[in-house]
């Protein structure tokens, strides 16, 4: 960052510029980051500003409004695409042991993976459902607001260099087969079995601005709510509650919770460590 003799003044101006920029992005393009936690958004925007050799966030706003390719960069900056297969294996073990036995009682399953990014966790779940014999009666909706990451997700091709770590995760998550049964390695790429995609629909959906998705039995949304302020967290949790059938399950990230939210009383805690909750039947 550039040193300044007046960090204090610059800082309050930058705060204002950031709010105006987010307002402009929302009004012009419909992407609403106004209720995201500010510290993170500011860091990402300032990084982008510096990479483009711009002087201020106002200049970045100008570029965003007049050059759609800059908007695409900023959308990528603000969407978190750091993920891995069976990330937090204990979560998937919890799904396998505590959620699958109940899902098994339904003739047909609708599952929503919200904020799926590049899809690693969607394929993880698809494999788990196959192993549990539930895949063929499941429909998985994998959504993200960023269409660029969805394209990657649809391909189901991941770097071979990561397979070793994914294999360990798979085993820790209670995997029942050899992980290599599910992909074909060629050069430096691992292509996941296209059969896994048969019942997955990848679709654009924005949690902040779009509405109820479907009558689902399980919603997985991990490490998305941590970016939102309380108001937006509540709004999205209400959306999840309304999208779940009675008795449906919600799986959040390890540092996310429904405690202190407006839906707190409408869920039971299935697994407190892995943040798996069940909508009350009432």
């Amino acid at each position: 960052m550039t040193d300044s003799v007046y960090p204090e003044r610059d800082d309050s101006i930058q705060q204002l510029e950031m709010e105006l920029l987010l307002e402009a992005v929302f009004r012009q393009y419909g992407y609403d980051f106004r209720n995201y936690n500010k510290a993170h958004v500011k860091r990402r925007l300032v990084n982008r500003m510096q990479q483009l050799n711009l002087e201020s966030l106002s200049e970045l706003q100008h570029k965003i409004l007049h050059h759609p390719q800059v908007l695409a960069m900023v959308l990528k900056d603000l969407s978190i695409n750091v993920t891995e297969m069976y990330r937090d294996p204990a979560f998937y073990l919890g799904i396998r042991k505590e959620v699958i036995p109940i899902l098994r009682t339904y003739p047909f399953l609708r599952i929503w993976h919200a904020g799926c990014a590049t899809g690693e966790e969607v394929y993880s779940l698809a494999i788990l459902l196959k192993e549990e014999g539930l895949y063929d009666r499941s429909q998985i909706y994998a959504t993200d607001f960023n269409t660029e990451v969805l394209e990657t997700a649809k391909k189901g091709i991941y770097p071979v260099s990561k397979i070793k770590a994914y294999t360990l995760n798979y085993q820790d998550a209670g995997g029942k087969n050899s992980f290599s049964d599910f992909y074909t390695a060629r050069y430096d790429a691992a292509l996941f079995n296209p059969e896994l995609k048969k019942n997955i629909v990848f679709a654009e959906h924005n949690l902040v601005t779009d509405s109820v998705f479907a009558e689902t039995h399980l919603i997985i949304c991990r490490n998305v709510l941590i970016y939102f302020n309380r108001t937006l967290q509540n709004k999205v949790l209400e959306l999840f509650k309304d999208s779940l059938i009675k008795g449906g399950f919600l799986g959040l990230g390890s540092k996310e919770n429904i405690m202190f939210s407006t839906v707190q009383d409408q869920f039971l805690i299935t697994n407190p460590n892995e943040k798996i909750f069940q909508k009350k039947i009432l």
Partner: protein
Amino acid sequence: MQAFEAIVIGSSAGGLHALKTLIKRLKPGFDIPIIIAQHLSPHSENYLAHFLDQLNTIKVKEADEREKILTGHAYIAPPNFHLLIENDRTFSLTVEEKVNYARPSIDILFETAAEVFREKLIGIILTGANHDGANGIRKIRLFGGLTIAQNPGSAESDTMPKAAIQTGGILKTMELEEIADFLNSLLS
């Protein structure tokens, strides 16, 4: 004299022992909030918070998202998350890319803390084998905060305090015990 409102500490290799020495020596009733980014294996449980919590009256816990920063508490960044400070003095967490090969990144904690606490912040760099925290130290100085490095000569790993000192942003270089005594002296 300026009343400090928060202390941020960054530590890496050798940090467990250094943090123990430092926190154990703080006086009962030490109440300036302490926020720690210690590099840990992504799979470690909240052992560190538990371990440091035994040492004295300071309540040590892992930082939760949206949690309010309170006096008399020390907070540890959860393994595999970046820890950021928001303007309303609450925590937020992210899982964005590693910075300086680390998550939590000391730079991210220090830089966001500097913007919120400004001249009322103390930033401390302890032992470590990388350069994380150096940019954060510069930013704390830029906003008028106080910056301290553990003496590289006696640090278990000297790279991190040296890198911080090389930025020119470090005001005091001290032994661990001296850092604790200095912090205690701020109380009376």
